[in-house]
Symmetry: C2
């Protein structure tokens, strides 16, 4: 391989490809970017057997070929090269020389032939969304997928097209995040698929907050997101996902409306005295038109009151403070200043919804006090 | 103790006092801030037996008294309290309650009586400098004081008033940083004192980049910096400091003038392939009108050239790349774009000076290649 390309174009192709590369892995290939030069293009691929990113940039191909390079190291070098034209050349021992002007690096590469074969991505059906739309729905659910594989399918996030809506749901055994938005594609699409949470965490960073389109293609085992010239794919997860519609409580005895920012400030203060290891709960004491928040730990005590509109019965109930803050920030994305918390007993889940939007719904189980 | 004070004033008094508090220490008192309420003021003191900070703010003293509170925790609470008036009250068991509006914290404190006595600070002589002036001189020397106590006095930085100049010098056995500036006080001051590097690291963060004054008072064992209503003191160090004037080489065979930014970029690129544990040297190869920079490690090789004005003999010599970068950044503070590196043999120190300023001088020993 022997190519020349502009540093800016190279950087723009390499940076997103890193999202599918392991920074540190016992399998050396998974730390690598695959570079392939042919037909006037340099293609850059990161792939960790689960998700992959393919990008490309224009290049002057003097000799076509492919090579594997340590992803982080290579990206660091390209980023710090002087601006302008960069030459990348490999020799028969897979040494990679990267030069520009009077600067010349030489690093060890590996034969491109040992890079794992990418999955065949023959699209069966596709849809198009705006980036901002998809990003909002990921942001409202990304924090509550399961981090452990006690039930592996919950390490993914459910996407469901149903009744002219796109619905997205994640759950980790303690809470459920759900959001929905009107969506109709040309064809009547009734699809349900589960995308790994880690894939969506990376995707979220790459999406822009604007109306530029993301094309989503589904194959039998994979999903492919194409946008801004990027081609990001991931395996889908298999398994029976939660029946979320029947998991949200529907009968409540207490409704309480509060200002989101005020409640976040208050819970963050309580967090100051909560030791993350002990996971002491914060106590909500609801009476009259007041939400009282109390916590006592070895470090100290906090006691404060927030004005609230309360409808129904008085109640005392405990929660994990981080789970509440994440829910409130999810609700804020809908654009409301206030939320309604719907409660039943100290042993049943609380449902949080923005006061004026029905597009977001969160259920959280209480903690025994 | 029972006081009321404005949250803004409290925060402004507490934040700088933390610079003399240990975040984590086996001696609990050293993690504490001492609060003392009397005569319409709340005084806040952090003191770690070596350096101390005393600040104060106006407060409405309902009952005078003193208390010790965990510094980081207390500062975190005050920072997150709602804006406005904060009440701080202690009880006979040294519980500290902090409240504002409907928010109330309670944390454990300790009796103020066990706080170590502050040193007596009877000033013997004093001078006044501008904050920007002092900050610049600290910035040009702070990076090269010794981090280990093989020779304890080098863990301090020398300040010397001599011949109507202030001279500042630090050294760690591998390099010497020196800067000077014209300075004349009313009285003829011929003082020489050594301030712990750690004290100056904290002081540097607190100093502003403007002409507001810093008063420096010297006692027999201590130095006191007063500025912006802060009162920051530190013990002085004792011992024989380096005879820096005779430590800088004076005879050179090679002078090389290069652009500072270009050289920093080049050395930072070389740093990409240097493993911090191995500390591989970068090689300077000086010939003709070129500075060639080469490094080879397990990770790879770099080879680049910088255009230079070279006067004298060709030379090949090796250095620790971090030490060179710190020197170049020190030289940049003087405002020049170019530096002169003066060299002799591969076994003698290189001296770096800004091309148009004589106020900064740095010597670095070579590394065997």
């Amino acid at each position: 391989m022997f190519i020349r390309a502009e540093s800016k174009a190279l950087n723009e192709a390499i940076a997103p490809a890193l999202c599918a590369v392991s920074a540190k892995n016992t399998v050396a290939v998974l730390e690598c970017l695959y570079l392939n030069a042919e037909d006037g293009k340099l293609t850059v691929i990161g792939y960790d057997n689960s998700k992959g990113m393919k990008t490309s940039c224009d290049a002057d191909i003097i000799e076509s070929g492919c090579i594997l390079v340590k992803g982080m190291k290579f990206a660091g070098i390209i980023k710090m090269m002087p601006q302008g034209e960069i030459t990348i050349a490999t020799d028969e021992r897979n040494n990679v020389s990267i030069s520009s002007g009077k600067t010349k690096f030489e690093i060890a590469g590996m034969s491109g032939d040992i890079f794992p074969a990418l999955p065949e991505l023959v699209s069966e059906k596709g849809i198009t969304l705006s980036q901002a739309f998809l990003k909002k729905m990921i942001s409202q659910t990304i924090f509550s997928y399961a981090q452990t594989d006690i039930k592996p399918v919950y390490m993914g996030i459910l996407f469901e097209f149903k009744d002219s809506e796109l619905r997205v749901c994640s759950c980790d055994g303690y809470r459920i995040s759900f959001c929905k938005a009107p969506f109709s594609s040309g064809e009547s699409l009734t699809e349900r698929f589960i995308v790994p949470g880690k894939t969506l965490t990376e995707l979220q960073k790459l999406l822009k907050d604007d109306d530029t389109p993301v094309n989503i293609e589904l194959t039998r085992r994979h999903i492919v997101f194409s946008f801004n010239g990027l081609f990001f794919f991931s395996r889908l997860m298999e398994g029976e996902f939660l029946d979320y519609e029947n998991s949200f409580q529907k009968v409540f005895k207490t409704y309480i409306t509060v200002d989101i920012s005020e409640l976040i400030d208050s819970i963050e203060r309580a967090g100051l005295i909560i030791d993350d290891k002990m996971k002491t709960a914060i106590k909500f004491i609801i009476y009259g038109d007041v939400l009282q928040i109390k916590t006592a730990t070895e470090t100290g005590k906090i006691d404060e009151e927030i004005t609230a509109e309360v409808e129904g019965e008085d109640l005392t109930i405990g929660f994990n403070h981080r789970y509440i803050i994440e829910a409130l920030k999810g609700a804020q994305i809908s654009g409301d200043d206030k939320i309604v918390m719907s409660l039943n007993t100290p042993f049943s889940g609380m449902v949080i919804t923005p006061v004026d939007h029905e597009d977001y719904k969160y259920m959280i189980l209480p903690v025994r006090m």
